[in-house]
Amino acid sequence: MVDYITVAIYTVMSVVVFVLILTTVAFLTLAERRISAFMQDRLGPNRVGPWGLFQPVADGIKFIMKEDITPLEANKLLYTLAPILTIIPAMLTFAVVPFGHDLFLHGRVINLQIANLNVGILYVFAIASMGIFGIIIGGWASNNKYSLLGGLRSASQFISYEISMGLAVIGILMVYGSLKLNDIALYQGSLWFNTIPKWGILVQPLGFIIFLVSVFAETNRVPFDLPEAESELVGGYHTEYSSMKFAFFFMGEYANMITASALIATLYFGGWQVPYLHNIGFIIPKFGIVHMQQWLVAIIEVLSFVIKVGFFLFFFLWVRWTLPRFRFDQLTALGWKVLIPLGILNIVITGALIMLRII
């Protein structure tokens, strides 16, 4: 028998989370420009509304009002399909990320996560890999030299770094023994020597560095933004795109950034965990218990998740204005000759340390 209230709750949650991601994407574009401006000692967009806060709305209206141009020589069907294939997987990946523990409401347990799939992290890999089809199809369908090169580079870069990302995640799976992201986050609340929480960054420092670098490459961000290197490839795979189709590519890229930040936070920084916070309140060893209401705990956990994700989003922008872009041979060399051997080394070290009961 179907529990209609549960279905209703998850429907509402899906819509709310989707809208929240879109809003974050919108404000991330503003944040990117404002923070870039701050780092270059400029002001940035500050005219539309207070502090330029309505700039994303203005951008959105402009995107919708612009003429949509499809090149005569392009493959029409694939050209239209490509942006859709980019944005939907980008959004869909977020479905397994837990943004809080359980919320007890009127005797009902609500997972603060859209889907607690048993394949968890594998789902992320599967869906995120589908996003690359959008980019390579878009690059090919445009019938433009820059687009094709951008699409090819993107595919090549994506598959090179996906292996090192997988190897880094295997280290995490060995320690936490579960594919479910919620279990991984939950396990990170347990304590080491009864004092230090077992966050991923502490048990997997090498894995964290590999994962971080790979994620930057996967999201096509500086210093790995070769698919859209504007100084050599004009716009890369989206050179020919305009209007809403371009906006979908753009939103897909930012949505990927959000998911990437959420994954870094969940795998290596405890996700929604606050150190020593449990469902009944703070339990501090050798000190005592500070009791709290369960709804308050849930709110604090969600806030903790949002702050961590926010920090990594800022980190993405920070890196953009700190590091120069790689050359393509350097990029493949880093992926294949540095990160993959390091990833395998990390697995062996992690295995030995687990067997010696150190982590």
């Binding site: 869909l92 859209i114 799939l117 594998l122 433009n144 809403m244 687990i354």
Partner: protein, 146 residues
């Protein structure tokens, strides 16, 4: 279990509806005034030369082939990592053997230069030097051909 996957489909549905509504809305609002010049491919303002679908570097293909091998290897590692703690040392040594065999293949690929984007960079440089030398010393000794 089923409720989990159904909420993924719910999320997918929300996504598809969002995309469909936005594209439809944009189609109703935006102007449509195409002409041949506007719809030509962009090539820095010039008329495009030839097709955009040019032959590309075969390296992209080789990288894709190596990727398939390593991705299959990662697939083997995932289930092993999950049960690693409960099996213990035997799992550790087993996987070590697997990884060593894999590393032999990796070393072979590396040694063959398939991981280098520009193959034989040294040879390329030597050839370039030859051309430069032959270019700077024209016909000083007769009969010597570079």
């Amino acid at each position: 279990m089923m409720i989990d996957f159904s909420s993924v489909f719910m999320f997918l549905a929300v996504g598809v509806i969002f995309v469909a509504v936005t594209m439809l809305l944009a189609r109703l609002i935006r102007p449509a005034d195409p002409n041949v010049v506007k719809m030509s491919n962009y090539e820095c303002g010039e008329d495009p030369i030839g097709s955009g679908w040019f032959t590309f570097n075969v390296r992209f293909y080789i990288i894709a082939l190596i990727f398939v091998i390593f991705d299959v290897e990662a697939v083997f590692l995932f289930p092993w990592a999950l049960v690693f703690k409960s099996i213990g040392w035997i799992a550790f040594w087993d996987m070590l053997v697997f990884i060593v065999i894999l590393l032999v293949g990796f070393a072979y690929v590396w040694n063959m230069g398939d991981l280098d984007w520009i193959k034989d960079l040294d040879n390329l440089k030597e050839n370039e030097e030859d051309t430069v030398i032959s270019g700077t010393m024209p016909n000083t000794t007769s009969g010597q051909v570079h």
